[in-house]
Subunit: 197 residues, 2 copies
Amino acid sequence: MHRAGALPFGVRHMSATEPTSPSTLSPRAREVLAAARELLEEEGPDGLSMRRLGDRLGISAPAFYRHFPDKRALENTLIYEAFWDLGDLLLAAIEDSDDPITDLAAAYRAYALEHPHLYDLLYQRPLDRDSIDPAGETHAGEAIRRLSGNDPISARMIWAYAHGMIDLELKGRFPHGTDVTAVWRRGIASLKPALGL
Amino acid sequence: MHRAGALPFGVRHMSATEPTSPSTLSPRAREVLAAARELLEEEGPDGLSMRRLGDRLGISAPAFYRHFPDKRALENTLIYEAFWDLGDLLLAAIEDSDDPITDLAAAYRAYALEHPHLYDLLYQRPLDRDSIDPAGETHAGEAIRRLSGNDPISARMIWAYAHGMIDLELKGRFPHGTDVTAVWRRGIASLKPALGL
DNA sequence: GTCTATATCAAGATAGAC
DNA sequence: GTCTATCTTGATATAGAC
């Protein structure tokens, strides 16, 4: 299998002025990637097959391999970019906020509910850390690190709560009629003091 | 660890005096189930195929279908029994405890770390609630309901935190060197007051 | 960059004999 | 309760022509 160094296909963000558009992908590869993301978001992880991807693009399945070495490279690129997008949203949420932890939590939940299958992709398997640029993950965690004053214990505590809430909600684990927002509120209120907020 | 009641095909357990040992499975089906659980725990969800299950039992793959109607029924039985076992452990953990919420958290984490693939099975997909007796889930939640004084908001808050911690740990998401126990401690300490503890 | 044809593999599940 | 033989489906991926 072809490996483009430490990065999935050399995907790396190069510019400080355009952090959300990192790419060394060819234009055609970007189209393939966009179609893959649509397919994933519409049909879930099982819908993301080479055949279906080809169908969506109007090409045959094998043509995919001219653009990515294999399926994993495609998924890794999706993961990297999703982390980056999420990081942008979370940073925007806390900027100039009067209640940054609440707004952070709301933004996190909103992203997950809008992109449930993409969120799943981020967490369903161990990260392929040999092939995914860690900058995506790092960027995703930036907002919570800032709020926690760089205290890693508290940052991970709030991350775990948020992730647990999302996972239970996305997987339909809360009983019908649960006021999920109320659970969020109480959890955030309880965890806030540990962040010094 | 006890042998929990099976509920493979919509049959409910009837006895209030022996809730943890009801079974309508034939002895042979129980052997199949035990082998399936071993296989799952040793090799993960992808290892649980009919062929491999047959190999482990020394029978052919199709022979399985004399004992369960299909793979999903087998998985549902595994899920039901895992919930039941977990519920037993959690109830035992809080009984006569001086610090029940801490002991509950420790027991939950211990179960997940000892049976990571089984834990995954419990949460990786939407529950097939049409085919799984809800008694298992209910039993699993009994301890936390007691601790929270039947306040569902607080119970779900603590559940989400615990699940999030487990999921991040099992999936290797915490950076190398993270003191996971310290994160647990701080989270539990922060959430405790909301439970009135 | 895309095609057709194909290799390879493995999955869940059924039929019917014993 | 188990067997052999088989069906059906669908996955990732490669070869080689255009």
